[in-house]
């Protein structure tokens, strides 16, 4: 269940931030507000009057507009056509329509030709068109889902001023964003969601970024990451030289040492996943090569990566990390079947059980039996199965792409501890994360990427969301 018990009270003329980690239920709540999902229980009231949204159209009629991250514009139509889409009269007065569209856009402080085709516009301008559409519908409630995620700093600033304008006009704005600094600049109040439950609603002035993070993850920041294990930074394990692929990653170089935890920050789509997939061999690089413990490799397949001692805990666990219907055992031994295979390819089931049971115990995997399918486990325990795979494979360089996505807080702490332990044992570790506090809490160094390019590095004394975003956005 994505949303269990969420309450959100929105006043007119306020910007109300809705915060939570990935999977906390923000999108579900937004879809309920926008009429894309019908709730099983509870109700929505506007001005005290209960309303029922069965379709997005119902929501729009009641003055609730949702500006989605993936915009819902007809990209081949013009700006004016998009704004009035769905309400076009049988006989269109084009001049009148364009004039109205122009006025709406100007009210937002932008200049966009109403006759322009939407696909020719920048993402920021497309967003403005969406907002103009919402205004034309006389929306009393506008929900923004990560509106600045794809905008440049400059455009983001302009968008924020548009939102302030909406607030002054008496519109209630629900603002969903990962960028907490930004949230605190614009929001009057914040509601924190966790595991589908609204934990608390606070006045923005009375809380802080760290205070909100602690609510989001459900415990003190210091407790989430636990004690760091003393680690010794050793020899260079991985050397990436000019690795690149056109349109995805601009050739870049870096080094990673034994015992080190290296973070990668940046916006979604900044090329971090592309980069690690090339290092691992899942995708092919067009330029450059990597060195693993001084030996040059061209990773053409994941098999080459695994043989060189790399392991990848992929971003999408269910699609790429595990075989859900297969037993835990089968999953864990897959990257290195040698030790559990007898002559003629027969599986040594006894040895396999022993090996995997041992790993399950060491990782404190919560499962009745390692014979059970992975689908019977919680997200955090599924992630432990992926970890166990690479421990069994004796990987020396482990890459974690969003290691705690869809994992509850208790398991998060355990995964952080495991990552640190592995580093302490001399493994070299890369962590990609979109949760900034995760990078800052875990990593010795954070490299930042923007649009496929490495834009800089942060050392622990420079760790702050502002510094990271400065590098992550143009």
């Amino acid at each position: 269940m994505a949303l269990k018990d969420a309450t959100l009270r929105l006043k007119s003329g306020e910007v109300h931030a809705l915060l939570g980690e990935n999977g906390a239920g923000k999108s579900t709540l937004m879809n309920v507000l926008g009429g894309a999902l019908t709730p099983d229980s509870g109700d929505i009231r506007i001005g005290g009057e209960p309303v029922m949204f069965k379709t997005p159209h119902d929501a729009i009629r009641r003055g609730v507009a949702v500006i989605h991250q993936e915009m819902a514009l007809a990209t081949d139509l013009t700006v004016a056509e998009n704004i009035f889409l769905g309400r076009l009269p049988a006989r269109i007065n084009w001049r009148n329509m364009r004039r109205k569209a122009k006025a709406l856009i100007e009210r937002l402080g932008f200049e966009i030709s109403p006759g322009a085709t939407v696909s020719d516009l920048s993402v920021a301008h497309q967003q403005v068109v969406e907002i103009a559409k919402a205004l034309s519908l006389n929306a009393r409630v506008v929900v923004f889902d990560e509106p600045t995620a794809v905008l440049s700093t400059q455009d983001a600033e302009r968008l924020l001023s548009v939102i302030r304008q909406l607030r002054e006009d008496g519109v209630g704005v629900v603002y969903i964003s990962h960028r907490l600094d930004e949230v605190f600049r614009i929001a009057d109040r914040v509601t924190v969601l966790k595991d589908g439950v609204s934990i608390d609603t606070l006045n923005a002035a009375e809380t802080s970024v760290n205070g909100v993070i602690e609510l989001m993850v459900g415990r003190k920041l210091s407790a989430i990451f636990g004690e760091d294990v003393p680690r010794e930074i050793g020899e260079v394990a991985l050397k990436v030289n000019n690795l690149g692929a056109e349109g995805r990653v601009t050739p870049l170089s870096f080094e990673l040492r034994r015992g080190e935890i290296l973070g990668f920050g940046g916006l979604v789509g900044a090329g971090r996943t592309d980069l690690v997939r090339m290092i691992f061999g899942a995708d092919r690089a067009q330029t450059g090569h990597i060195e693993v413990f001084g030996k040059e490799h061209r990773m053409r397949t994941p098999r080459a990566g695994v043989r060189a001692g790399l392991g990848l805990v992929p971003e999408s666990r269910k699609d790429q990390g595990v075989l859900l219907d297969f037993p835990i055992r089968t999953n864990v031994t897959m990257p290195r079947l040698g030790p559990v295979t007898a002559p003629f390819g027969f599986i040594r089931f006894g040895a396999e059980a022993q090996t995997v049971d041992g790993l399950a115990k060491a990782l404190r995997l919560k499962a009745n039996s390692t014979k059970d399918p992975v689908s019977s486990l919680s997200g955090g325990n599924q992630q432990k199965v992926v970890l166990a795979k690479w421990i069994h494979a004796e990987g020396e360089i482990l890459i974690f792409d969003e290691p705690t996505r869809g994992v509850d807080v208790g398991a998060k702490t355990e995964i952080y501890t495991l990552i640190r332990q592995m580093a302490a044992e001399g493994k070299a570790i890369i962590v990609i994360s979109s949760e900034h506090h995760e990078l800052f809490g875990l990593c010795d160094r954070v490299l930042v990427m923007r649009e496929g390019t490495l834009t800089g590095a942060l050392m622990p004394d420079e760790y702050s969301e502002a510094n990271l975003l400065k590098l992550a956005m143009s």
Binding site: F280, P302, R303, V306, G321, T330, M334, P335, S376
Partner: protein
């Protein structure tokens, strides 16, 4: 995570049907058949059924492997025809052992072609094997010049296999059962079987575990080609004639057997024993209609209907829930 103890969980009716559906269909059919005809359950008739399904059975093993990887091999019927013609030709030219080996090799080459196109070049299996199906049928017609090839005295050694017995059991039936036993062992106990199923379940995850997925995909098509050629040889040993016209529509029987056996066309799920039962069920249906004197054209209609009924029983429980 669910908190109820698994010990208390009773299997639902739906999951029972999913697990034992194939066996259930078999039992129902056996009861019906016994009621309809008193010669049905004789040893002679049973061997008769099994002998008739030997070719389909061999093809269905290859088909099962391919389907487990989430593929499909439509070329098996045509490759069997090529195998039939090739074996009749080769046996006249070389020793029987060499002839059989060369024929199976030829089937393997057909499979290799499908495998490379599907595994390396990522073409969709359906269309790829459809093309190989046409090519193999054409090759069989070219090789035989459209005429049935009578082996005559040269083929005596292999026709002896087709009509031979060992301990009272027809040799082709022994071959069929042996092939299924090997398939069951490979699928249950070996790395190869495990990875074939794993690829069908989630190819990406297997690839990212460092497994050479292409090798396994190519392998299953090669095995399927070799078994289809073997099916063609078996047919030749029974009739003594190599023919380019056998095996028309046999790929559908093989697919039907695999599906009646509960395998998922979405890959990853299926086993050899149930596929064997699926083959047997198809054989019983044909046999029953012969015993009941149903005319040939009607048999096809009935067979299709019974396959649908079997599928409904297999999949119905999951469909109704939606």
């Amino acid at each position: 995570m669910s908190t109820n103890s698994p010990a208390l969980k009773l299997p639902s009716m739906g999951s029972m049907i999913n697990t034992y559906g194939t066996v259930l269909i078999l039992i129902v059919l056996l009861i019906v058949a016994q009621a309809m005809s008193d010669v049905f359950l004789t040893q002679r008739n049973m061997f008769n059924i099994l002998r008739q399904v030997t070719a389909t059975g061999l093809m269905s093993i290859g088909m099962l492997l391919v389907i487990l990887t989430r593929g499909i091999d439509l070329s098996v019927g045509s490759v069997a025809a090529l195998g039939s013609v090739a074996s009749a030709t080769f046996v006249a030219d070389m020793s029987p052992v060499m002839g059989v080996a060369a024929t199976i090799g030829l089937g393997g080459l057909c499979g290799l072609a499908s495998g490379i196109l599907v595994g390396f070049l990522r073409l969709p299996p359906f269309v790829t094997t459809l093309a190989i199906m046409t090519i193999a049928r054409g090759a069989a017609l070219i090789m035989s010049q459209g005429q049935p090839i009578r082996m005559g005295a040269d083929g005596a050694s292999i026709t002896a296999f087709g009509s031979g017995f060992w301990l009272g059991v027809p040799l082709p039936v022994i071959l069929l059962i042996a092939a299924f036993v090997v398939a069951a062992i490979v699928l249950t106990f070996t790395r190869f079987g495990r990875l074939v199923k794993a690829i069908g379940s989630n190819e990406d995850a297997v690839r990212l575990s460092g497994i050479n997925v292409q090798f396994y995909i190519i392998s299953v098509y090669v095995i399927s080609g070799m078994l289809a050629a073997a099916a063609g040889i078996v047919s030749t040993t029974r009739t003594g004639i190599g023919s380019a016209n056998i095996g028309v529509g046999a790929e559908l029987d093989a697919i039907a057997a695999v599906v009646i056996g509960g395998a998922s066309l979405m890959g990853g799920r299926g086993n050899a024993i149930n596929t064997f039962i699926g083959v047997f069920i198809l054989g019983i249906i044909a046999n029953l209609m012969n015993l009941a004197g149903v005319p040939g054209f009607y048999q096809q209609v009935f067979k299709g209907g019974i396959i649908i009924a079997a599928m409904l029983l297999q999949y119905g429980s999951t469909l109704v829930k939606r």
